[in-house]
Symmetry: D2
Subunit: 139 residues, 4 copies
Amino acid sequence: MLMPFKTRIRVRFGDADPAGLVYYPVLFHYCHIAMEEFFAERCGIPYHRVMADDRIGFPTVNVQAEFFIPLAYGDEAEVEVTVARIGGSSATFVYNIRRVEDGVLCARSTSVHVSMNLDTRCAVPLPPRYLECLAENHS
Amino acid sequence: MLMPFKTRIRVRFGDADPAGLVYYPVLFHYCHIAMEEFFAERCGIPYHRVMADDRIGFPTVNVQAEFFIPLAYGDEAEVEVTVARIGGSSATFVYNIRRVEDGVLCARSTSVHVSMNLDTRCAVPLPPRYLECLAENHS
Amino acid sequence: MLMPFKTRIRVRFGDADPAGLVYYPVLFHYCHIAMEEFFAERCGIPYHRVMADDRIGFPTVNVQAEFFIPLAYGDEAEVEVTVARIGGSSATFVYNIRRVEDGVLCARSTSVHVSMNLDTRCAVPLPPRYLECLAENHS
Amino acid sequence: MLMPFKTRIRVRFGDADPAGLVYYPVLFHYCHIAMEEFFAERCGIPYHRVMADDRIGFPTVNVQAEFFIPLAYGDEAEVEVTVARIGGSSATFVYNIRRVEDGVLCARSTSVHVSMNLDTRCAVPLPPRYLECLAENHS
């Protein structure tokens, strides 16, 4: 089992709302960015190649998220990505978002992603190459 | 008890991803837009006045969402907003997102919003004017 | 010659930055929304059908914009769309963005859009159906 | 005179449109990100501290942009930032956006930013600390 995958994302001016805090839909954008990085780093294939080569995408079908501490403009976030469950044609990812400055856990999102054929838009079994890398990152 | 509040949102070119489907963080943006309209229409105060007059915001602290059918570029969405639970300083909103064309339920998000003083960033009791309008829209 | 096309867009919470003003890239999103509405209303074909039926898109290749007065969260914008120039495979649109409350001109963007085949990604002559509607909206 | 400031930005799934290309308002977001990095790296003050400490912002009042080659999902962009002109209370930045893979120039945006007091929302003379760093990055 590998160390959990982590990636850093700086909060941008355009990510923050009139209260100076990250607009919560943007936190899900951060999770998606972290997933893209996860595929590149841990599965050895950038997410756009997943789509182009294998005609597969991993749309989100279920999200459970808690926001503990708001991230503010000027903060840097660290997103940790782990795999909590692997199904036949789906996988559950957990995203822990921490503030880099003090390591405090700001948000956690647990998302179920389905393996979908981009042409038929139907669920398909997870291809072996992804199964393997997801298993290695199982928490 | 009032009829559930509903508002329509057209899917924009910039809302859709390379698969032609609405990028899932954007669906939460749609929910927030619907909440802003809800305050204006049902509570009689636009959300920016909530913030300016009462120095109160309603940040999201918990989200549970399911995405059943993807919305695509060209679709129009109807977001129905109801109030599922009212606490001392929080309220739970349910957002049902349907495709206008055929009425199919595409997504549902249940979000807990906390009543927060924007200056202290602390939770505060829901002011009476909001309590009343939330109660009228209880599902 | 028709009256200039106009559409209204409400500034959303997520559109505004920590200064409470519309983040300037979002103003270009507003212009694009207005262009989408223009196609639907004035050319009789929604922009997603332009892409799906005719395999044509109108990417922006040149922008000149001035921002006179910032739009703030809570404002409503009215975007006026006119056609300033029609070329063989391009058209120049002018977007005037006004604040609805007092009609003040907040921003103007002049954009050149090229008629592009989405499969070859090459410029193509403007199809007659668009030429006609653009001509009718020439300022 | 320093070497031009450069920063890299990876095109994200959520940045691309149904044609698979970066939605053009997002390119201006990239320019703003590069400007934020510029302040941190070249002026020694992160942009959020500019706003918090000096109560100054640099809103964009004029943009001239050309888009030569579309950036696509999967690309990495390099944004070069130089200062083309320094006025009493404004500065003109040039952003050259290249595709990292082959160095091709994809877009150029020339923007005038005004030094604005965030409380009065009025233009103010550029403070000496910024004047100096802008002068060092004059192209």
